[in-house]
Symmetry: C2
Subunit: 191 residues, 2 copies
């Protein structure tokens, strides 16, 4: 069996990561399966299993190499942008594969340093982006926060994450509106 | 190796569950480890591993047999009771073992029917209890809800669960107050 330093081992790892990245960008997270990655990378399925016994962890790895699609490029009014972003995230959290990635990441982060770094990276990006957009909305007079902006990500994503992974139901429009209202007071029309 | 029908196998399973239950009730979830359960049950550590390779899953199993300690026995005013309950839950979610149980349960529920039944049981109990307490507060005129009571558990527990398992920091008083305010409007003093 090849070792970590074996050129073939490193080559197949690179080919797998490249294929997984293409599949994620072209078809979304549900396409990053052992079968599809093996086919796209031109390696055997057993090789993919050898590198990543859990497809979820391969997806986490490759997600860290592509731009995170949430809370990116805020537009004005912030409330409308936020509603769209939360709706997009809620639809992703309806997918079993995304649920599996989120909970697998959270579980593995407890004992695996690489996974913990990925977890911190995802949490940090989401928290920083949302806080910046809300701070901007406040500066423009669109928004008066009900909580410190560092708490906004937990308040906004937390209910959808709990609903998806613990209650295992879908986040509907009403819950999204309740989340938006929980973040603070929005002016009727932005100035 | 004994089979599922072997009396010794069933006996050791019962002894392990009994020991795990005692440890959970006496010392809390962090005491339900392979080592402590084996010692208390008077069986070898390997036997505990054979029944439950993951201590988290043993803990989930045994948690389902003891009364769930959260949102039980509401007192008046509801707001003060809720603050105490959320604070107790936040302190539990500070513990790595509790984090591991929550995320392991959510992950395993995706492909294991027994775990999915446990997940549904926990989510159902928490959601029903919280909704009942809030409905009662509303009936007494203490509270005007901002969202349907079926959404209250996601709004209340979700932010703490996200903070604990994804952001991996502690839920402080400020976030708890923000959660209480997000659920609805509270009258200054209960009538």
């Amino acid at each position: 069996m090849p070792t970590d330093q074996d050129p073939r081992f490193l080559r197949s790892r690179e080919a797998i990561l490249h294929a997984a990245r293409e599949l994620l960008l072209e078809k979304g997270p549900t396409a990053v399966t052992h079968v599809q990655v093996a086919e796209r990378a031109g390696v055997g399925r057993a090789t993919v299993y050898r590198h990543w016994p859990q497809a979820e962890l391969l997806l986490v790895e490759v997600m860290a190499t592509v731009p995170m699609p949430f809370f990116d490029e805020p537009t004005v009014p912030t409330r409308d942008w936020l509603r769209r972003e939360l709706t997009a995230m809620a639809r992703q959290l309806d997918l079993d594969d995304v649920r599996a990635v989120a909970t697998t990441l959270a579980t593995n982060a407890l004992w695996d340093k690489t996974m913990d770094a990925r977890r911190a990276q995802f949490a940090g990006i989401l928290g920083t982006r949302l806080a910046a957009a809300l701070d901007d909305a406040q500066a423009r007079g669109e928004f008066t926060p009900a909580l410190p902006s560092r708490d906004a990500a937990a308040m906004a994503i937390g209910p959808m994450y709990y609903r998806s992974t613990i209650e295992r139901t879908s986040t509907d429009e009403d819950l999204i509106e309740a989340i938006i209202a929980a973040l603070g007071t929005w002016s009727p029309s932005p100035r």
